[in-house]
Structure formats: structure tokens, C-alpha cells
Amino acid sequence: MNGKASAAGTEVGRAGGARRRTAVPRLAIEFDPVSDRVPWWMPIAAVLAALAVCAAFIAANGLDPLAVYRKMLTGAFGTRFGLTETLVKTIPLLLCGVGVAIAYRISFWNIGAEGQFLAGAMAATAVTIYWPDLPAAASLPLMTLAGIAAGGVWGLMTAVPRAYFRVSELISSLMLNYVAMLLLDYFVFGPWRDPGGLNFPGSPMFTASQSLPAFGGTRLHFGLVFAIAAVLLYAFLFRCTRWGYELRLIGSNPEAARNAGIRLNRHLLLVMLASGGLAGLAGMAEVSGVAHRLMYGISPGYGYTAIIVAWIARLHPLGLVVSAFLFGGLIVGGYSVQTIGLPSSTSEMLQGAVLFFVIAGAALGRVRIRRAG
């Protein structure tokens, strides 16, 4: 049986060489496997799509979405006061945004900027409560350090469980947000409540030597310098420094980084110290520069918005500045529509929708349509 078949089969290899079939052309939707470049107009399209979707909800609430958007726009950017307010909101967003961006660079999902922000705010306030009479030259640096340290420690509380106990940082950092919120409530309703504050849940007002200086009679304060310095440092860190190189390596391929002699856990702790420290600094700047006291609801969710800010900026320094400014405007715009009967959560809804469309847009940007067999 074998011998008979072999005669026919020996030359099969070359026999059909001349035939070449072409398949019917078909369109196939594929993902670009290597490039993750996104067309420049994609973020703009995403914001427009988000606005369109939210318009439906606003209209369902019985209001004219166009009027609402116009109101938000003028409220945030149309007046001198609005613009300063937007910048005031940009400060914490930018500081927290840079903070989470550092962590995201090494794929550490720190979503605890909110808690780290509050920790910084509480620590800075603690300085004013326990050393009330220090001169500005002593109390402001001390408050700054306390804010950074407390934020950093709060950040470490997610890094340590992750590094040594393999606890998902997503869960631990979020749980710590709630812990920080409850701790804040405890302080402002309890031991730190201003005795002369008519039951207002807040600490006593800071003195002038405990407040960050403001620019030219506006509410815009020295925290802006912190924020700009943070972005510049961030850009410099990842472009030029050895540590930045090590972090880029960890972010791209942790296994390869380990092979290059980089100790991952140590860098993880350092990164979270920095990430939390920046959010803590934001908290300090907010109590010392804007509110001039620690109070209930000190953060309208800066830590969460910062996640969106960082993601939309694709962790790029300049992108962080732009998106922090835009989202600052969104928060201020959210306040300004309260006058026409919409809740400030309008802006939260918009933030979430923008994030949705941006991530979907980034994925769609990689879709290629080509002919396939």
C-alpha cells in the first residue's frame, strides 16, 4: 500500500506550483498591533461626544443644554473672576494629576489621591493647631513639609501592602480614601472644631502667617508655583534623569527592569512616596491658600478628577497642564450652573463621560480597516 502510493505522492510538492488562487477581497477591521498613536482630533471629538450625551440628560431634566453649556463656559473662562477661580482649581488638580501620573508611569494604579490630599490637608492643619503662634517663615515651610510627609505616608500605606503582601493597590488606595474622609469628619466635627464657629464643621481660621500668599488681591495663591514646579520636575525627571529612566524601564517591562538590577519594590515605595507627597502638597495648598481652614467637604473630589486629568493627558507633562486647566474650568462651570437649578454633580457627570469617550476614542484610533482574504 505504501509503495503504490509513493509513486504518485513524491512530486506533489512542486506539481501545483503554478497555481495561485486569489481570495475574494473582503474588508476586515483590525487593530494596529504595535502602534498606539491616536489622531490629534480624537480628544476633541471625545469631548464633543461627551457633551452631546450629557446634553440628553440635561434636556431630560427639563433644561436647555446649550444654555447650560454656555453658562458653564462663561462661568469658568468668561470673566476675570471665573478665570482666577479656574486657575485656583487647576492647582490641586495639577498637583494630584502629576502625582497619579508618576504612579501610572510604572503601572501602579493609585486611585487614592483623594485620601492622600486629605491627609496632607489634615497634617498641615495639625501644625496650625499645635503650634499656633509660629512666624510665617517657620509655619509655612513646616506646614508644607507636614503636608508632603502625610500624603507620602498615606501613599506608602498602599505601596507597602502591594510590595510585600501582593494586595491590589486599587482596593487599598480606595479604602484609604474612605478612612481619610472619616478621619477628616472626626477632626472637624470633633477635637478641631472652631469653638467660635457656630457649629460649623471646620477648624479655626488660619492666621496670615499660616496662609500662603496670594497674588494681587485675587484668590490665586502661591500654590500655583508649587504646581508649575511639580510639572517641570516631572518632565525633567522622565526626560533626563537616571531615576526617570529606571521608572520608564519598570513601566515598559518590569521583568526586564529586574534583569537590569533594578529593585522593583524599592522604586514602588519611592514612587508612592512622591505620588502621595504631591497630593498631600495639594491638600496643604488648598487649606492654606484657599479655604484658610480645614473644613468638612474640603475636596470636591480633586483626587478622582486627577485620575481623569492624568489619563486624558496620556501622562504627558504639557497635556497634564492643559487637562488640569480644562477640568478646573469644568468644576467652576459646575458651580456656576447651580444658580439655574442644576446640581454641581453636572460637572462630575461630564467628567466621567469625557473619560469614557477618550478611552474609547484611543482604542478606536488604533482600528485599521484593510482588505483581507
Binding site: 512542486r14 488562487r21 481570495a23 504595535v34
Partner: protein
Amino acid sequence: MTLPYALEMRGIRKQFGSLVANDDVDFAAKTGEVHALLGENGAGKSTLMCMLSGVYRPTAGDILIRGRKVSIRSPKDALALGVGMVFQQFRLVPTLTAAENIILGEKSSVWRGASWMRRKTEEITAVAERFGLGITVDRPVWQMSVGEQQRVEIVKVLYRGADIILLDEPTSVLTPGEADRLFETLLKLRAAGKTVILTTHKLREVMAFADRISVMRKGRMLKTLNRLETNERELAQLMVGRNATGAVRPEAGTPGKPLLEVEGLTVEAGRGRTAVRGVSFTVREGEIVGIAGVAGNGQSELAEALAGLQAWSAGTIRVCGREWKRASVRTAIESGVSLVPENRMKSGLAGSLGIVDNLLMKTYREPERSRFGLLRGRRNREWARSLVERFDIRATGLDTPVRQLSGGNQQKLLLAREVDRDPKLMIAVHPTQGLDIGATESVHRLLLGLRASGRGVLLISEDLDEVMQLSDRILVMSGGSIVGEMSRENADRERIGLYMAGLRAVPGEAAS
């Protein structure tokens, strides 16, 4: 009477982007034969098999099964046509038992009570016994040896009624003993009228049991031969495209001082498994020491320990006479140990970063590359550019993410990084896996060059030919121990094969 051809492929072409994996391939297998598809790594054998099994779809060409033109869109379609494939990387769910894996995907009966499972288990056992495939049906797959997992795969394919059985590189993960057992099974399948097609690059296997042999090279089908009418030499020539002489290997001078001395090294690999058991050996200046063995017998863990990546529980490692206190990659890098890791994209390169960043990985701490905590950007680019030229790395730019480079260029990049450091000792783990012949040869030349300049090389490879061709001494690892050691002169395949299967060396045979 059955049709002459169980399966035919005509004018098959498969492209991945710009890469042509198969070009105008014709192939036919007769009913009831064992047909071997022979070719080097990257010749396109696996791609061809994947198209038969529905994993890939051909860009052009026809597939005929039992004389009827078919379109195989998914593995499910393939099975419906009676075509079943045993993949090189087994398609088994590790947490499920053998029986669960085998009945996976079966549509009949949504509800599965105890009696239903019992009946199925009996059916599966019956199929397994008929072909002499001993498996434990109720054990989770992750607890099984590789050989047993493969038997589960074969039972799965048979149980689901396949009569054309494809096996992709079935012996690459087996010891010689297990491989022999597999061949017996294949002959039983043939006796039962099944058609068996398997891919391999091992000539001896092909000559041992295949009825017919088709040879592929660089994505093209060259020739189909009858086993009785050919010989190893002819096949080797077809496969490689010229006489397989091997790289020129200058004879050794006398090896110099010991570079690496390992004594009684034991490495625990987690989950209570001891991966390396009391291994001792020495690598001297100017010699290549090869470690042969089936993958998964402790070679990876040994290499990791020697690169400072993995802690060891007992024994000593001395490099250039200095004993290492504990596992530290820095110590390894600083004492001149260089590692070409097993899987370059997984642990050797950072895919999303550019060429400069990837070249810097081992040297960025040196004052030449960075100062005061800052990288010396311009100087590093110049240096990277010179390396790209010297090692002939083809890329569109210095900042192209390296995952966009071809496999050969990635390996060249990695070797450029490691060789440029001028290492004292190079540990190369499967350094030519997945490379074409040209790239393989240049890697071999680099390793021989290191040897010629008085460096030591520890070559860990599954490819016995590679080990025998390059090494001055050959160690064989099995079950975490070194079970045999021989000098180049008295190394032969049979002995190495026996050692790989776990037989201990006869005392007194160890060479210098």
C-alpha cells in the same frame, strides 16, 4: 475504497502584515499514513498546521478534505471535518481535570450530574486504553508531567472523533524515552486507519517512523519524499539549503583560570518544588560549556541564579574567585556576568521603549553613561548609533519601539548590549530560538568570538545539535541535577539521550 488523499492543500499563501509565512504551498497527506513535515524553525510548518486546524485562515489557496473543498474558519469547523490538532503549547486548562478538558466544548447535555460524568469518564478511559495512552482522567492537568499532558491532548482529539491528527513539534518537550512512547502510539493510530501529520526539525525521528516526508524551507514546500527512498543527508541538505557543515569552530587552546565555580547549588522554585538539586561545575576562561536537557529540568532556574535573579538555598557560586553572598543582579552585572535570557521580549527588552533605552539597560549606572543622576543624552545616542552600525541592527530610527523590530534584530540588539559590556562570563539561554539560519549563525559566531578572546560561555539549549557543535564540554541536566558530563570528543547522541531521560552517569566517566 477510501480516497487516496485524506487531506490536500493547494497554492496556500499566508501573510502576517508584510511577512509572508507560507508562499504557494502544495501539500497532500494520504489516508492512513504518518506524514512528517520537516523544516527548520521558522520554515512555516506551524503556520501551515494552524491553517489546517482553523487557528489561522489562509490568505490565498484551497484546502481539500477527503476530496472536498472546505473552508475552515475555526478549530470547531476543523473538528467537525475530523481534523484535530495537538498544539506545541498544549491547549489545556491547567485548573481543570483531564476529563473536564476532554469534554470541554461538547454541546450535548447542559446538565452534568454525577452519573453523566461517570459515563463520560468510562468512555474516555476506553478511548485512551484502545491506543495505549495511559492517563489519569480525574487529576487536574497542572499536576501532570508534560508527557501525560500530551497524552491528554491526543485522547481529547481522538475522543472528539478526529481521524486526521495534526501534531505540532510533539517531541520538543519530551525526553527521548517519552518520545519513543509517542511514536508507538502514532503507529497504533496508523494501524487504526487514522492519518497522522506531524511537524519536526529532527531528522532522526523522521527517519525512524514517518511513511512520507515533506520538506519546507522559508515558507515554501520543497519536496515530498518517501522515507524508504531517501536518507538523512539528503533531507538535511533540503532542509538547510546546503550541506550542513556547521559553523567553523577553531580548536580550543588550553582553558585558562576558572571563571565560574558552582558547588552544590540548590534552588527552590516556590510551591515546594526544588528546581536545581546540588549542581556543581566550573566554567573556565576560553571555553564554552553546554548544558543540554529537556526544557523544564532546572535550566532556567540555574541561569537565573547565576544572573543574580533567583536566591539559592544551598551551595556556593564563585565568580573570578569571589564568592557571592546572596542573589543580586547588581553584583552579577558588576562582576561581569552577562545573561541572554530565554524569552527576549519577556525579560530581556522593554518593548515600548526605543533602541537607546534598551541598550542602556545594563550600563546606565556607569559614569560613561550617566553623571550626577542625569543621563548623558547626546553621548548615549552617539554610542547607541555606533552599536547599531557595528551589529547591523535594522531599524527605522533610534527611538522606534523595539517591539516593532523583527525577531532577529531584537536578538542582535540584545546581544549588542551584552557583548559591548565586554562580559567575563556569558550565560546564553536558548540564544537562537525562533531565529532564521542567518541570524543563528551570527549568534554562534559571536559566542565563538567570546571564547576566542578568553571569555567563558555557559550555553543552555534544548537544541542538541547546537550544544554539540559549540561546546567544549557538555553537561546534561535532568530533574534539576547534572546527570552526565562529557568532553566534546566522547560526546554522542545516544549517551546524551539516555542522560536526558534521567539515567545517571557511570562514575569515572566524567571528563576533565
